[in-house]
């Protein structure tokens, strides 16, 4: 046990630093109540808990280095933008909780980080929204690359009628971006780039596996397709989707939407289920 005889006795200081770094929850409790440090003979005026917290952010970031292969541009961007230390400092408690159940897989780490990023990033902030764009881009590509190619024989597309239920493929992701992710990647090739120089424009994308070739496809899609993909959640028939669109002021007939859905099914973005009866 560390000595209780002196304030800031070296073994005691090391014990406190190590405890705070290994248990981000304890560090947070000291930040809320620095007087608690007196109980362990540490002068609360001599310890910079905010900097220690940032150091834990560095350590947590390093623990996620194995994600750099899967999310290279995301890491380059958050490093370049000065977001990675604050992000991982805030994320440390959750990351520690995830580790407490055993060493997480790369997939579990990315999934947990995705969930956290969604709430942490301020989408009104230009750089944060770039980070969210590129993260979703790389995560979607990763999931599609990891997916096993379908062994099902190619199904003939049946009749698409207003009663057909259209559903997004289980490995189809559609995202609204504030830029083209390829522009972020191109810009970050220059380590001295100015992130403000990345062209910004609202762009809609669908990420999916081509049913026929099994290849990953990234398509820039139009507004109508994006909305249809949004609505095709497996609970609505094509007729229902057409009604929703009409109520929103879109002039579309059931027959027209059947044709559009047929094309989306053909491309691999949607799957169609014809209800019995």
């Amino acid at each position: 046990m560390p000595s209780k005889s002196k304030i800031n006795h070296a073994p005691n200081v090391h014990a406190a630093l190590a405890a705070a770094m290994s248990d981000p929850g304890l560090l947070e409790s000291w930040r809320r109540n620095p007087l608690a440090l007196r109980d362990i003979r540490i002068d609360e005026h001599q310890i910079d808990l905010t900097q220690i917290r940032n150091f834990v952010g560095l350590v947590t970031k390093v623990r996620h280095n194995d994600l750099r292969t899967a999310l290279p541009v995301t890491f380059r961007l958050i490093d370049k933008a000065g977001l990675s230390i604050p992000l991982f400092a805030d994320y440390a408690v959750k990351a520690a909780a995830l580790r407490s159940h055993g060493k997480p897989t790369q997939g579990q780490k990315i999934e947990a980080l995705a969930e956290y990023l969604k709430g942490w990033l301020d989408m009104e902030n230009g750089v944060h929204s770039l980070a969210w764009d590129v993260f979703r881009h790389e995560y979607s590509v990763l999931l599609l690359r990891q997916a096993k190619p379908s062994t099902r024989p190619q199904r003939e597309i049946g009749k698409i009628s207003p009663g057909t239920v259209a559903q997004r493929g289980s490995l189809m992701f559609h995202h609204e971006m504030t830029c083209r992710p390829s522009d972020i990647e191109a810009a970050l090739k220059d380590r001295n780039c100015d992130l403000k120089g990345i062209p910004r424009q609202r762009t809609l994308y669908a990420y999916f596996g081509d049913e026929q070739s099994g290849r990953l496809r990234i398509s820039e899609i139009d507004e109508a397709t994006f909305v249809i993909l949004d609505l095709a959640d497996g609970t609505r028939s094509v007729g229902n989707i057409a009604s929703v669109l009409r109520r929103a002021g879109v002039s579309v007939k059931d027959r027209q939407l059947c044709q559009i859905v047929r094309e989306l099914v053909s491309s691999g973005m949607l799957v169609a289920n014809n209800r019995e009866g």
């Binding site: 006795h9 005691n12 014990a15 540490i42 900097q51 940032n54």
Partner: protein
């Protein structure tokens, strides 16, 4: 090793880089902890000689490493035929907190931490080094820590602490130039002025990596590259001393383009040749 050698630390892009660029690096620096966790990494020895780096000895700490760890390092040092073992002037393990009944077990981190910069720790570090050295067939050389925050109870600067450690212990110096630069930014000192006070007669190896300023603090960044300020420090060192090895620590990301890395290696080789 004859003359000054240039190496890379083991990381995700290392093997392919060495295979693509035969003869570009003289050695690979391999962390003992990685080797222990994944013995297959030793296969890199077929590509280049190894230098063993280590973070487990807690030289500036009060909790000694286990006998098992010391024995394992000793075994790997012999097996890899490393010319020395690099270790940090830092701690990785600490006593449990004397709070409550047994709120915490003894704490072992997975990364090294800058110690309290005091006479008490200095004495302990010199004792630890002497005790540990007897277990190894090759010298331990010791690396300066980066300082990210003031450690409570410290009574001296990181440069005074590092200098005194080498003078008192006689240990070889592994000078991490980026750590020195980081400490200078965070503790607000002039890196060249402080470098001039370091006892470079103990210099054996140098480390270079990137640094990243975020949240008002400079941080180690092994995904980035050493910038001009680090190369300027290297030039200052080479005006006074000649290391036996210079290691680029670019081991966090597989992404560094070959042309950038080759450019830095060739620049360093040129600087060493003209020193």
């Amino acid at each position: 090793m004859a003359g000054a050698q240039i190496g890379l630390s083991y990381g995700p892009g290392l093997v392919s880089f060495v295979e693509r660029n035969p003869g570009m690096v003289d050695y690979v620096e391999l962390p003992f902890e990685l080797l222990r966790h994944d013995p297959s990494t030793a296969a890199v020895q077929s590509l280049a000689p190894l230098i063993l780096h280590c973070a487990s000895l807690s030289i500036a700490g009060f909790v000694p490493p286990s006998k098992g760890t010391i024995d394992a390092i000793s075994l790997e040092a012999d097996r890899t035929r490393t010319p020395w073992i690099g270790e940090h002037l830092a701690f990785i393990s600490a006593d449990p907190l004397a709070q409550g009944t047994s709120m915490h077990e003894p704490t072992t981190l997975t990364y090294t931490v800058c110690p309290q910069l005091s006479e008490q720790v200095l004495d302990r570090a010199c004792e630890n080094l002497a005790g540990l050295q007897s277990h190894f067939s090759v010298p331990l050389i010791v690396e300066n820590s980066p300082q990210y925050f003031k450690v409570p109870g410290s009574t001296m600067s990181i440069v005074d602490f590092t200098s005194e450690f080498h003078r008192r212990s006689g240990a070889g110096m592994l000078l991490d130039l980026t750590h020195l630069m980081i400490s200078s930014i965070n503790m607000q000192f002039d890196p060249k002025q402080e470098l001039a006070r370091l006892p470079l007669e103990y210099l054996v190896e140098m480390h270079l990596s990137g640094l990243d300023v975020q949240a008002g603090t400079a941080w180690d960044d092994h995904a980035g590259i050493a910038d001009e300020s680090v190369f300027e420090l290297m030039a200052c060192v080479l005006a006074r001393a000649r290391p036996r090895a210079v290691t680029f620590e670019y081991n966090w990301s597989p992404e560094l383009p070959d042309n950038i890395l080759i450019g830095q290696i060739e620049r360093t080789r040129n600087m060493l040749a003209h020193a």
